[in-house]
Subunit: 198 residues, 2 copies
């Protein structure tokens, strides 16, 4: 996929959410940057300062924490087409990153820096509405996820997961899904086994 097409994907997505004028969409162009990443490539690693967020045109990324004390990974989220991803803890709270953002597949991303985004908000206020709206929905989904982690069994969370991320089972490793669900890979294996019998 070449650059104009990748960028067009972003524009189409933006227009789905908020109606932008053609001039606004033209004006925003210089602020965005196309990035191509190979499978296994890291967009963010622990210790770095995070100034960008990334729109996924194509591909799949995993955002996770690696706990050095017990050598274990905790997957915060997966990102697929049309998601914005970053280490939002570091990005929004101005902390240095404690997360990995890794491409689990070859990916095409479009990045924008925090400074540029703020400039863009002033130049085209519709972008502030767009990102506010994005945040509102993401915030609500996080609340649902927190409730689910408190309330639901591993099996129920797995069912919710395959419902929320259809087709992602083929795209990421089982142990990564397990680390998203907050269970051991062996437990996920057994849950799958149980469900298949029903």
């Amino acid at each position: 996929m070449n650059d104009p097409i990748a960028f067009a994907t972003l524009l189409i997505h933006l227009n789905k959410e908020i109606s932008f004028s053609p001039e606004d969409l033209e004006k925003c162009k210089p602020f965005f940057k196309i990035i191509r990443a190979r499978q296994g490539e890291f967009i963010i690693k622990p210790g770095v300062n995070v100034h960008e967020q990334y729109f996924i045109v194509e591909g799949c990324v995993r955002v996770y924490h690696h706990d050095l004390e017990n050598d274990r990974e905790y997957t915060l989220l997966f990102g697929i087409e049309e998601w914005w991803i970053s280490d939002f803890i570091a990005y929004h709270l101005d902390l240095s990153s404690r997360l990995y953002v890794e491409c689990t597949h070859p990916s095409t991303l479009i990045s924008i820096s925090k400074n540029d985004l703020h400039a863009l908000y002033k130049m085209v206020p519709a972008f502030e509405s767009y990102f506010r709206r994005k945040l509102e929905r993401a915030f609500a989904f996080n609340h649902q996820r927190i409730l689910s982690l408190q309330k639901d069994s591993g099996e129920q969370r797995y069912l919710d997961f395959i419902h929320q991320y259809p087709n992602i089972e083929q795209r990421v490793k089982n142990y990564q899904i397990a680390s998203y669900l907050g269970i051991a890979p062996e437990s996920l294996s057994r849950i799958r086994n149980q469900l298949a019998k029903k």
Copy 2:
């Protein structure tokens, strides 16, 4: 606390986050509504449509889900002075509520409806920046909480809790704290016991 003082509390808070002009602050006044609630009063109950969010001037509220299947409560969050609260799942996703929002203490709240807020965004764009900023920070905190629920023991989450909500232990019941932490009340009791010995 009388109404002008309650409203002044909101204005002072707003100015801490974003610099508003005196005219802007004057313009927003008609959109907000002061609410007083007694201890035990419900601001939101399951089944209702949620059109408002609430700024806490004084008091304490608890947002929780009551699961009828096993008659158990799951506390999503506590709100104290200067927090905005609501059932944000229902509010942002236009669903009917599945949560209770209950005042655990006599409280003074200031509400604004979604429609009024959108009108206010158009009239005073600084409000959109303010709420975007609020959402960014809340979003980042939610990510931290999700990681913590996956990663940390009940004891660690309790320590984080009393650090994040100082003095709240005196304000809410133990079983409510336990249901926030995602553990049984008995377990919280034992954790406290263990920590006291150290």
